[in-house]
Symmetry: C2
Subunit: 323 residues, 2 copies
């Protein structure tokens, strides 16, 4: 549709824009996993992306398109996760500066990582403060440009370059699985993949307790859920984005839900067989694939391993629980 | 020299031979590591190789060249580590069978992994038994072909394909660091790299307690040391191979030694920044690079991350010790 807010051309533009700044991440194969699943599996490893997650793609694409004046004034974002690091690093690389608004109980490692990319950190009380209001106020006072985590065509197009690279490298796929949080990664990847690989099934993966997109797709409109309790902190969205949902509603074929236990099994398999580190959200597509809930099973399946940001202490804690 | 037992042509032949069977492993980059080191670092990830280590390359190259009659009778190897798995899988893929001789105190996970590739496991008492005698007897009785871990031109040429792929992908390098145990990986890589990238410095990395190749190079002949106590179990060699040493003596520029503590720091950095799983031996080139002992510092440095076979329990145990 010509009225689509993001098109394959936008994703191609984003790819040109981030070239040289973002990593062209490798696609891993594993015959063990192929055999376990009974299909050919192509894993796009965004845990090897800069800042350790796909978020750098969208952040860099969005920030690099700001005017020199806006770049000079700086950007802002509210995020305790990978978006924070993506915005911080992209701003620094583009000669801008970033203010990141985070809950004050954010793990010190994440604060340090974001500050390490040169960002100023502003904290707030998660229970009494309103991050949107705080971010908005900051932006207004200092003239900063807010970089949203997913609700922007440049962010969505940037994230879509992961699928573009994957399909350009391995050819058409029968299905592509990506984690769904706010929906930006899925919206971008679905835009690219459905255009490049006609007939492809786009399967979103959500944690059982964070099934806002699944419920919303079933209802035909955006549904809000209580703050999800899940180890997949990158997917703890309460409601799909408006823009991302409009795209995903059109392009998604379905959502698979995975339990925390299945996610841990996916992380463990990734460690022991793939030799890669995945954060819980990054392992959800693998968990979905292993759950056997993909029916019928596609022959050639792409997975976006979306991130690998997990500290050793947290990782060992999670793995000891999983037994 | 035309009299060299292994040449670049042999490595190219090996590359053609293993094509489609072995993975063409990815080369990872990290700006964080480039910045920490002050050089461009290219990491050839053999932890993503089949069986989780470079050993599959040599094993497949060697076994695939056996006569149909020898393949029918089967192969044998003595190894408790990655060579065992490489031989087991290569034998299975080539329609042959493998008997692997292992100490009876080998961790069950390694026995299971090797048996999982279809090999028959024969155990012996590490303190009273002689694995060479046991392997030789088995081979004689059953007509098996012994596949040595490094002392064979086909093994060495196969391991060299890792360096061949690396340099073909990223261009000439100023230095290449590989772990040195028996010396097969280094001998093959040095053969390929010095031919493809004239002037390259070949730097071997050994654990402090397993410095048999360093001592041997200094002495000008093979020196035997007591069984090394090191976490780098893949490099616990007591003496360099005769064939591998003859090549390494000619092509190596030096050896860097790393402590167990430095190896753990390398594994930790690989986990947290590269998002990859390395076994202790696989992390020794990274540890050497971080030690600052490379003087003068080359501008473009290749590392062979040789393997990633470490179970989660052992990994978490090592990481908790390292603090």
């Amino acid at each position: 549709m010509s009225t689509s807010p993001v098109t394959l051309d936008d994703v191609r533009d984003a790819a040109a824009q981030i070239k040289g700044a973002a990593h062209h991440t490798p696609v891993l194969r594993s015959r063990t996993i192929d055999r376990m699943v009974g299909a050919e599996v192509f894993m796009k490893c965004e845990n090897f992306q800069r800042v350790g997650a796909f978020k750098f793609r969208g952040a860099y694409n969005a920030i690099s398109r700001l005017s020199p004046e806006r770049l000079r004034r700086g950007v802002a974002a509210y995020s305790s996760g990978n978006h924070a690091q993506g915005v911080a690093l992209a701003a620094r690389e583009l000669g801008s500066s970033a203010v990141i608004v985070m809950p004050e109980d954010t793990p010190q490692a994440k604060i340090d990582a974001t500050a390490g990319y040169g960002a100023e950190i502003v904290t707030y009380d998660r229970f009494t403060g309103d991050r949107v209001a705080i971010g908005g106020k900051l932006a207004a006072e200092r003239g900063l440009t807010l970089i949203p985590p997913y609700e922007h065509p440049h962010i969505i197009a940037g994230q879509g370059t992961a699928a573009l690279e994957l399909i350009e490298e391995v050819g058409p796929l029968d299905a592509l699985l990506t984690p769904v949080g706010g929906g930006g990664l899925m919206a971008g990847c679905a835009t690219a993949a459905t255009a490049l690989s006609p007939g492809i099934r786009m399967i979103g993966v959500e944690p059982e307790q964070g099934d806002d997109t699944k419920r919303s797709l079933e209802a035909g409109h955006r549904i809000s859920i209580p703050v999800p309790r899940t180890i997949a902190d990158g997917q703890a969205a309460e409601i799909p984005g408006e823009l991302t949902f409009s795209i995903n509603q059109r392009l998604l074929d379905g959502i698979v839900l995975v339990s925390d236990e299945e996610i841990l099994a996916g992380m463990k398999l990734a460690f022991e067989r793939l030799k890669i580190v995945t954060e819980p959200s990054g392992a959800t597509p693998l968990a979905a694939l292993l759950s056997g809930r993909l029916d019928p099973l596609p022959a050639r399946i792409g997975l976006v391993i979306s991130g690998g940001n997990i500290g050793l202490p947290r990782f060992t804690e999670l793995m000891s629980v999983s037994g």
